[in-house]
């Protein structure tokens, strides 16, 4: 009965497909673990647990897989959705739908690694401390890293600011320069509607010493359909060094920012309708 239901509801992850992916990942991590705390066994469990939500709840579609090659990238995305569900979906997409499959390493806020249970769960699934040196070491070890250069400003937005890309910080670009890694711009569309009614009291958050305090009446995210659009890799010109001036690198950061914006707009045009994302003018 359970088998029948799980098949009907498509909550059972495709075993053969995941087996193949992890066979490949086993060649990258022969010990099944890595110095950053990844555990292939746990990563697989996480993936199997998240898969039904990925496929049937958020109905994730991935575009632009052909832009990803067999090399490490600094994956740079817009950040949305109040909590880091977007990051989790991007990571699953890079394991399931991108060839060759990889464990994308999302950089997390410093406090996350110190959290009991959750911190370990995240590290075992591939998450790593958001520290510059840590990121450089990962890229040097040929790992692809996921960063959100908007930082916390990107994730904690009021409803009125949805899909407004915040200014990118410079750190990620300097990391890419010091490791010679290509930047892979991507856009996530649909994550803003996980929590469509949000108020973010910045002053109270600052008073409480919290990075963000999004207030929403919803406890669980809404099943907003998510599209992940992968752009073309961006290679920094060789004459730039990690010590180049802000003015020199800002041109490139703006270009990446513009590309993420373009990908977001493209995604917004083609997205599937969902009651929370229907615009007022569309209703008219």
């Amino acid at each position: 009965m359970f088998e029948f239901l799980s098949e009907k509801l498509q909550v059972k992850p495709p075993k053969e497909e995941i087996d193949k992916i992890f066979e490949h990942l086993q060649t990258i991590y022969p010990a099944g673990e890595d110095p950053w705390g990844l555990s292939l066994k746990k990563a697989r469990k996480n993936m199997e647990m998240i898969w039904p939500f990925y496929r049937n709840y958020f109905k994730v579609r991935v575009f632009g897989q052909e832009n990803v090659g067999d090399e490490p990238y600094l994956v740079t995305s817009n950040h949305s959705g109040q909590i880091a569900i977007d990051g989790m979906l991007i990571c699953i997409a890079f394991s399931l739908e991108v060839k060759p499959a990889r464990i994308l390493r999302p950089m997390v806020e410093r406090f996350v690694t110190g959290l009991p249970f959750f911190g370990t769960w995240a590290s075992e699934g591939g998450a790593v401390l958001g520290d510059r040196q840590n990121c450089i070491n990962l890229l040097e070890a040929k790992q692809s890293v996921l960063v959100f250069p908007e930082g916390v400003r990107g994730v904690a937005k009021n409803t009125a600011d949805f899909y407004k890309l915040q200014k990118f910080t410079r750190g990620f670009f300097r990391i890419a320069l010091s490791t010679g890694t290509k930047i892979l711009p991507i856009a996530v569309v649909g994550a803003e509607e996980f929590y469509p009614f949000v108020y973010h009291p910045r002053k109270i958050a600052r008073f409480l010493g919290l990075p963000a305090l999004p207030l929403t009446p919803l406890l669980v995210p809404l099943p907003s359909p998510v599209d992940i659009i992968i752009g073309k890799p961006y290679e920094a010109p060789s004459e730039l060094t990690p010590e180049s001036s802000d003015a020199e690198i800002d041109i490139h950061i703006k270009a990446i920012e513009a590309e993420v914006k373009r990908l977001t707009e493209e995604g917004l045009k083609n997205r599937r309708s969902f009651w929370a994302n229907v615009k007022k003018e569309d209703k008219k």
């Binding site: 010990a31 673990e33 890595d34 110095p35 950053w36 705390g37 555990s39 410093r110 406090f111 690694t113 110190g114 009991p116 249970f117 911190g119 370990t120 075992e124 790593v128 401390l129 520290d131 040196q133 840590n134 070491n137 990962l138």
Partner: protein, 323 residues
């Protein structure tokens, strides 16, 4: 350019009652039969293997006799393997004794080495100096700040001994070549440090909420690193760790000891409240089984060459079962 072994004929090993020192002395005596090796320890010394070129003496480093040994033996090299570990720490962590032995003792040893024309010294510190903190980057290099005593003042001796040694090393680098080694957890049947005791004790609590990664080096490999440092490694600070890593839960699984999963958060508070360790593990080291402290081995690796380590992490852990 480092001092060549042909110029070294007499070696002093501090802490000869310890497992690592004994193995080092044994290996050194086998490799260099002409070398005169003197082992000193304040604890009673019993060498399992007796060889002609190893002489041992039991004495305190603060006594006048200690100076006499330097004068008489004219050592060319000093291997300081006598850092007092935390294995027998009571709840208060016998800090005073450790500070005295590890910091004051080291100062006395190094000052004597300088006075009596020792050419090379090796000091074995520990990776504990970096501290186990949740925001540790993976691969901490030798230039990283030593943050061990930020949270736990009981670890002051570890940090102070290391800082003293490195300061001393740079200050006197023209007169004496000094190598400070910061090894990862040394394990082996002859080692009785906190980590070995923790790994081998049955029904030890294991974090249900944390599972940090670890680097382990077998005692034999560590002794080989000490000898290689004497032979080839120039003045400097070096992390020592193999490339392999293993999570603490996997490590205990390899050893095959049953563990009790406990939320460390809860355990930490209980130990603090009771002020009594209900199993032999100092509470100020609890963070080391909570947060990873993975060190960068790029500094020393070129001097070791490929395939230097004889034991894999798994083999080293399995050998602990033989105890």
């Amino acid at each position: 350019m480092t001092i060549e072994m042909k110029n070294i004929s007499s070696v002093l090993i501090i802490g000869i009652a310890g497992g690592l020192a004994k193995i080092t002395a044994g290996l050194l005596s086998k490799k260099y039969p002409e070398l005169s090796i003197t082992g000193v320890d304040s604890r009673p010394v019993k060498l399992e293997i007796q060889t002609e070129n190893i002489k041992t003496v039991q004495m305190k480093y603060t006594r006048g006799n200690f100076e006499r040994i330097f004068r008489e033996k004219q050592f060319d090299a000093v291997l300081h393997l006598g850092r007092m570990s935390h294995a027998d720490a009571n709840p208060m962590g016998n800090l005073e004794k450790r500070l005295d032995l590890n910091v004051m003792g080291t100062k006395r040893i190094m000052d004597l080495a300088l006075r009596f024309g020792v050419k090379k010294s090796i000091i074995v510190s520990t990776y504990h100096v970096y501290g186990a903190l949740s925001d540790n980057p993976v691969f901490i290099d030798e230039e990283a700040p030593l943050r061990a005593s930020i949270k736990y003042p009981e670890l002051r001796d570890v940090v102070e001994m290391d800082l003293f040694s490195t300061n001393w090393m740079w200050k006197n680098q023209t007169d004496i070549e000094t190598v400070v080694l910061r090894p990862c957890s040394i394990i082996g049947p002859n080692i009785r440090n906190s980590m070995c005791l923790y790994l081998t004790s049955p029904y030890a609590p294991i974090g249900a909420d944390f599972n940090p990664m670890f680097q382990f080096i077998h005692e034999y490999d560590m002794a080989s690193v000490v000898i290689r440092s004497l032979e080839k490694v120039p003045t400097g600070i070096y992390n020592v760790a193999p490339n392999e890593v293993i999570s603490i839960k996997e490590a205990r699984k390899v050893i095959g000891q049953p563990s009790i999963p406990v939320p460390l958060l809860f355990l930490e508070q209980t130990v603090k409240l009771l002020n009594f360790p209900f199993w032999k593990f100092p509470r100020y080291l609890l963070d080391y089984i909570k947060f990873a402290c993975i060190i960068d081995n790029k500094g020393i690796d070129p001097y070791l060459g490929e395939d230097f380590y004889r034991f894999t992490t798994k083999e080293a852990l399995e050998l602990l079962k033989l105890e």
